[in-house]
Symmetry: C2
Subunit: 191 residues, 2 copies
Amino acid sequence: MARTYKVAVVVGSLRKESINRKAALALAGMAPDTLDLEIVEIGDLPLYDEDAEAAGPPQAWERFRREIAAADAVLFVTPEYNRSIPGALKNAVDVASRPYGSGAWSGKPAAVMSISAGAMGGFGANHQLRQALVFLDMPVLQQPEAYVGGGFTLFDEQGEIAAEGTRAFFQTFIDAFANWIERTAAPESGG
Amino acid sequence: MARTYKVAVVVGSLRKESINRKAALALAGMAPDTLDLEIVEIGDLPLYDEDAEAAGPPQAWERFRREIAAADAVLFVTPEYNRSIPGALKNAVDVASRPYGSGAWSGKPAAVMSISAGAMGGFGANHQLRQALVFLDMPVLQQPEAYVGGGFTLFDEQGEIAAEGTRAFFQTFIDAFANWIERTAAPESGG
């Protein structure tokens, strides 16, 4: 039986009707059977603070760290704020990178899709995140790069991806990620 | 009478005994009389969320936006997390950049000092922040660049800057910032 990989999906926008969240769900729906994608929430994570760590970490941090640790791979879908990574997303990255020496991200295959309203597709946010993923030793899917512009016209009134070309790109992206995970994920732990 | 410039100091670490906070206070103590530096707190800012904005922004956001708006210039002193900007600091940048069209940062002269335990001095965090400051149209002090390594030996047991060379560099940096502010700050509003 083919292995199924658990993929934690981290969405960089906290807005309920976020286009990024919709895109994440669309990708989850198109993913091959070998992937099991689930959104892991970041909106309740207190700002990282070493003093709070020392005093006994907040429950939300522990919950998030557990969920990332339990995943085989991570998909980031993020908007761009001020040409750079959203603070909420970077905070989530920081929270699960600690405590020092036992971070939850380490070694997990990752992919990044950035989405913006304008034409540039969140390049600035995408690559600021990639910079941190280098340090976290996460092998990141390089191609296809996913800078998705025109966010507000991405979905039609039925909530479906509006353009056939976009749908095809999403499919190529998630298939490539599935392939990347098979090549780079840690071996299954015995069970 | 020479004009005095209000400088909001934003510290990227939330830790009470943060080296970055100590460095910020040291810079405040060394600054020429033309500058009035005051730390503006970021640890209580809820994660930026457009839904919360629409529902009526949290008080901490309004307090922070007011304090930034009231300043003539901004000094950032920050550690580096995972080779990149701390989430808490980027969240603060995001919070005061909104609501869209009336951000508090716009046009204010800025300077960035990054401090790390290792040798690299937080270059990654420093430049990720600078990337956002471009979009926010903040003229940033270019020289001297301030990548301060060896953070844990920066201060002696009396809480003073340990090395004479470091003290001299801090002085050069804050003097250059004072000069930069005089050249680039908005004209004083009438009163």
